[in-house]
Amino acid sequence: MAMSPRKRARLSRGIQYVVLVVLVLVAIALMDWGRIQEQFFNLDSARTMWPDVILIALKNTIIYTACGFGFGLLLGLVLALMRLSSVGPYRWLSTGFIEFFRGVPALVVFIALDIGISLAFPGYAVPGDKLGIATLALGLVGGAYMAETIRAGIQAVPKGQMEAARSLGMSHTRAMISIVIPQAFRIILPPLTNELILLTKDSSLVYVLGYTSAQVELTAFGRETLNQERNLTPLVAIALCYLLITIPLSIVVRRMEARSGRAR
């Protein structure tokens, strides 16, 4: 007896549900819950992290990310404008920079920056101590990624906007600042927020620069406590902290995308 396509689809869905439930049940039955609780949800271990995990580690992660993002945004804007410039060397410099910092692992960039600056310029320190160099490193990497997003946003602004602005007598720079860039940013707000989420996780690389107990960020703090406690609960704890930052941002992104999709 041949089944109608709709019945077949319903049967397939039903089978998938059953398979899913069976797999979950089997996993639950096979897992050693005692060990899992001891390894992943050990309240004593979690308690040793309080309140430093929030007051110091989470705070530092937020600060490193925010500063890196701020610097990266500015740098990304400059790079994007250079890419769009009519001056050849600006375009080549910008393209080279973007390709390099997007193509090399962020970890390598961090290490090279840290050691490289003190070797190349002895006696010179990037202003701002650890925060300064973390901002520089995160900003260089983040900026390279954001440059492309910003450039696309600027190019997405209809050409007529620039033409109208210039026909009113505005200079190219003035038209960019007042008319094109504000509109570009409205367009790229969702992908930029995604960049912020990615940068939050990249802030974990700051550990290679070295840190004091006051400068520690979430991942390094988690690893230190992991070594101390010899179970994985610290990692679960910092993972939750990261989600505390990234999930609200994701929600914001989705809301923004929905709103711009609805708007004319």
């Binding site: 210039r166 026909s167 009113l168 007042s178 708007a263």
Partner: protein
């Protein structure tokens, strides 16, 4: 950078042997045209004839391949000229309106005044509101472009161009993107401007407007001016075959 010095005796716009090519495609093949002060010159022709390009060469939105353009005696094709200063004295209205969507109507009208002419805030607003009133949209000062109809947006665009107090206005097929019932309001504003003595160069399909208000009608085809003269004459008794062919299709 040469500070542009206006020659009061010179025609508003003077175009001499203008050529413009996009790659291999020559769009303007030698245009000579004069627009006197206070004149209304209408440019008509089939699509691809180069009429929009011609208009855009006047305020240097397109850079001519060769030839000269003079605005009030200033050679705008001179590489040393301050283009921004020249443009602030030429108003342009586009087919696609090009209002700034992130700014209110009032701000659309004042931003260039503030940034380019460096007027203070109250002066800008005064001029802006006066122009909004002129185009019949005083009550829309705080609205945003997205909330306006096409015809309203275009009238705002005209008010925006007027707020810079230009010496002349360029209109690039400004009614072509409008629903027919909205066209009349925009044309009414343009007629009023013409009656007030504004120098206007209008690329259009609206023959009625040309006949009523135009001082000079220019028919372009294939990058050259085929026929030119008094609108009633050109429209009523076209001399060239191509003019006749074009008019028979649109009239």
């Amino acid at each position: 950078m040469t500070a542009p010095k206006v020659d009061p005796e010179a025609p508003a716009i003077e175009i001499r042997d203008l050529h413009k090519a996009f790659g291999d495609n020559e769009v303007l093949s030698g245009i000579d045209l004069e627009v006197g002060q206070g004149d209304v010159v209408c440019v008509i022709g089939p699509s691809g004839s180069g009429k929009s390009t011609l208009l855009r060469c006047v305020n240097l939105l397109e850079e001519p391949s060769s030839g000269d353009v003079f605005v009030e005696g200033i050679q705008v094709t001179d590489p040393d000229v301050d283009v921004d200063a020249v443009r602030s004295r030429i108003g342009m209205v586009f087919q696609q309106f090009n209002l700034f969507p992130h700014l209110s109507v009032l701000r659309n009208l004042t931003i260039a005044q503030q940034r380019v002419k460096k007027r203070d805030k109250s002066e800008c607003e005064g001029i802006a509101r006066a122009n909004l009133d002129k185009v019949g949209l005083s009550d829309k000062a705080d609205a945003y472009p997205a909330h306006l109809s096409g015809g309203q947006q275009q009238r705002v665009a005209i008010a925006r161009a007027l707020s810079m107090e230009p010496d002349m206005m360029l209109f690039d097929e400004v009614t072509s993107a409008l629903d027919p019932e909205l066209v009349g309001d925009v044309l009414a504003v343009m007629k009023q401007l013409a009656n007030e003595g504004m120098t206007m160069m209008v690329v259009t399909h609206e023959m009625g407007f040309a006949r009523e208000v135009g001082d000079d009608l220019v028919f372009m085809d294939g990058g050259v001016i085929v026929e030119q003269g008094n609108p009633r004459d050109v429209l009523g008794d076209p001399q060239h075959e191509r003019t006749k062919a074009f008019l028979s299709k649109v009239l």
